[in-house]
């Protein structure tokens, strides 16, 4: 009687030797050794890998942003990064899941790859993408009002502006909102690794930590130009390397091969992720932000704030250093 762990190992060996054949479906596999759970996951992975290209931003379109002087508009990489950071703040403030944020960034990048956006409209575009993502991923009762979003983010457009922009975005993206994002890939890969590995050390691959790392990467523009699957695997690969979980390197390798990711690419993006995370943990305050936040206080408080400076003090009386001040 095979033990569960052995069965898992065997199952994975089957994957490695590519029993599937040329097509990516799992036809003809010896399912005796593999658990149904793993099969389901792999199936899911295949589906996502197939759909991925349709939800990728147009790389050429994004490259235009990198050369602002030539594209005639003033959209820059920095503006995009700042906008994404704002969306991250909003997402954390409202307590949304990481899905919302990642989806919002993906929508934004896809839109930026298709359309030339003026910097003054970036705020509106960003917020609309965010709202679309929230509506797609969050539960009904957690979705805030559009007016609340605008008020909190201190943007200067109206709800009707936002609705119009939403329509434009949806049109350009051909109404394809919910696709496999880098986060989906990360979770899938993570589950596969946990299921397929036999050691207890897989507990060290903390999903929350990985998701935060992913969020940090999402803020950087360079990662928009690569596939989500590659980025997800790079993050995992880096974590495996940092935590010295050497027994998992094999699994990572298998996944790489299965996802048809170039070895060179994986190394390259893993290094980029490392750089990004190093900067993220060491970063001191990145103020001033491009948008100075408004501090609106009530009238009573603002009156209070001014009231302290109305005393004109009496002329100073210097203390004598001699003993003449003693009581007679």
């Amino acid at each position: 009687m095979l033990k569960t762990s052995d069965r898992r190992k065997d199952a994975f060996v089957i994957y490695r030797t590519g029993v599937w054949g040329k097509s990516r479906e799992m036809i003809g596999i010896d399912t005796q050794g593999a658990s149904s759970e793993i099969l389901a996951l792999v199936n899911q992975l295949n589906v996502q890998l197939e759909q991925e290209p349709k939800y990728q931003p147009r790389i050429n379109g994004l490259k235009v942003i990198e050369t602002p002087h030539e594209n005639g508009i003033r959209m820059t990489v920095q503006l995009r990064e700042l906008e994404v950071k704002d969306l991250l703040s909003l997402s954390q403030f409202f307590g949304f899941s990481t899905d919302a944020f990642v989806l919002a960034t993906s929508l934004l990048d896809r839109f930026l790859g298709l359309m030339k956006v003026q910097p003054k409209h970036l705020c509106c575009v960003g917020l609309c993408c965010f709202y679309l993502a929230v509506k797609a991923t969050e539960e009904e009762h957690s979705i805030p009002l559009a007016s609340d979003l605008i008020r909190i983010s201190q943007c200067r457009f109206t709800v009707s502006d936002m609705m119009r922009m939403e329509n434009i975005i949806l049109e350009k993206l051909h109404w394809k909102v919910k696709g496999p994002t880098v986060l989906n890939f990360l979770r899938l890969y993570h589950k596969l690794i946990l299921n397929c590995s036999s050691s207890e050390r897989d507990k060290m691959l903390n999903l929350e930590r990985l998701e935060s790392q992913l969020k940090a990467c999402n803020c950087r523009f360079i990662f928009s130009k690569t596939k989500g699957s590659i980025l997800a695997l790079s993050v995992l690969a880096l974590e495996v390397q940092t935590q010295k979980l050497h027994e998992l390197t094999e699994t990572i390798e298998s996944l790489r091969q299965h996802s048809k990711i170039n070895d060179h690419d994986l190394l390259h993006w893993r290094a980029r992720v490392a750089e990004c995370l190093a900067e993220y943990s060491s970063s001191r305050c990145s103020r001033p932000s491009h948008k100075k936040l408004k501090w609106i206080v009530s009238r009573r408080t603002s009156r209070q704030l001014q009231s302290y400076h109305h005393i004109t003090p009496l002329p100073t009386i210097p203390e004598a250093s001699t003993c003449t001040e003693r009581e007679p």
């Binding site: 950071k85 991250l88 703040s89 954390q92 403030f93 307590g95 008020r151 909190i152 201190q154 929350e208 935060s212 969020k215 940090a216 993220y280 943990s281 970063s283 001191r284 305050c285 990145s286 103020r287 932000s289 936040l293 408004k294 501090w295 609106i296 206080v297 009530s298 009573r300 408080t301 209070q304 704030l305 009231s307 302290y308 109305h310 005393i311 003090p313 009496l314 002329p315 100073t316 009386i317 210097p318 203390e319 004598a320 250093s321 003449t324 001040e325 003693r326 009581e327 007679p328």
Partner: protein
Amino acid sequence: MSSPTASTPVEKVDGFSRKSVRKTKQKRAQSSSQYKIQGKAVDLNPLPLLKDVSSTEKAALFQRKLQQCCVVFDFMDSLGDLKMKEYKRSTLNELVDFVAVGRGILTEPNYPEVVKMVSFNIFRTLPPSESSEFDPEEDEPSLEASWPHLQLVYEFFIRFLESQEFQPSIAKKYVDQKFILQLLELFNSEDPRERDYLKTVLHRIYGKFLGLRAFIRKQINNIFLQFVYETEHFNGVAELLEILGSIINGFALPLKAEHKQFLVKVLIPLHTVRTLSLFHAQLAYCIVQFLEKDPALTESVIRGLLKFWPKTCSQKEVMFLGELEEILDVIEPTQFVKIQDPLFKQISRCVSSPHFQVAERALYYWNNEYIMSLIEENSAVILPIMFPSLYRISKEHWNPAIVALVYNVLKAFMEMNSPLFDELTATYKSDRQKEKKKEKEREELWKKLRALEIKKGVRKGMQS
């Protein structure tokens, strides 16, 4: 003579009585304790003007005029002695103009006359307050009726003290401790104009009479201590604090132990008084001056403020927050590190206060550049303290303006120290989940107990 008070029934608004509804708005009351024994009419012989006499005679004439001005009139009787009152007024006016520019009139014999005239006019028992429940914050003060004369006397005395010919060595025989005691008592006058003059008078005296300084400080201490611990009633606290401000500003370094004691034993406890709003600006100024002189006192000052932090009076809380911000504006980074822990715990409580003004004022700290830079440097300590309440009120506070301000603060924190922020968010969420689990378990337990009760009851019912 008491002024009529229309007694409207005390209204209850939301269960709390509105004090200001008690009195109808009335004209400013006047009172005075100067009164005249009936019958004796005052008759003063008009004297020639000072400018009309030769310079040799000026000093003597000056003296005679001073003596004439020692006569005090009853201003509550608005019709009596009008001619004489006017005469005195014009004489006083003349003296005021003369003492500043005149030469050779401040002869030694004139000193005691000046002091005597001033004493006769200003030293009096202050009239009792119009209403026994005079609330300095709400009610109009009753003014001194004899102000037309009194003001000129004060004006005169100030110019006398400031005169170029003034010699403290002569004056100190007459401006003595008894004079100071009586002067200080006058600070309890309800008339703010009088207190303003008294403030200037005492300020000049303190400046010029070195021998009286220690005495003055001691007496002011006594007044404050009595105010804080016994009566909670004294009208001149703000003015005395203004004088103290200028004294503190002039302290020599290193600070004497006496002054440090004063700070800790007198100035800090002054914050506990109910009527703080009347003198808070001046008090805060004194505190900040102290800290600019000797930053090492910062820790004890802030700990003192935190100890006396108002728990039920939101208006006072807002004042404390204002004062604290002024202190933080001048704080040294090394001192900041010493008190940041208890300080931000208190700020964290203020920020979650349901009173929106308190929350707003506390959140506004994050708009202060210098405070932000201090927070940045110590974000690893401060962020964990502030985070739970900030995160909670971003979801739960009733006031949308507060929620918007909280966003500003959280965003600043996010940008300051992103990894720590992520960590805290994760911890907070997991803590909340644990709490929810516990609550559920507790509910289950109660359900079980209830089921037991019912079973027992049924069994009992079946047995009987």
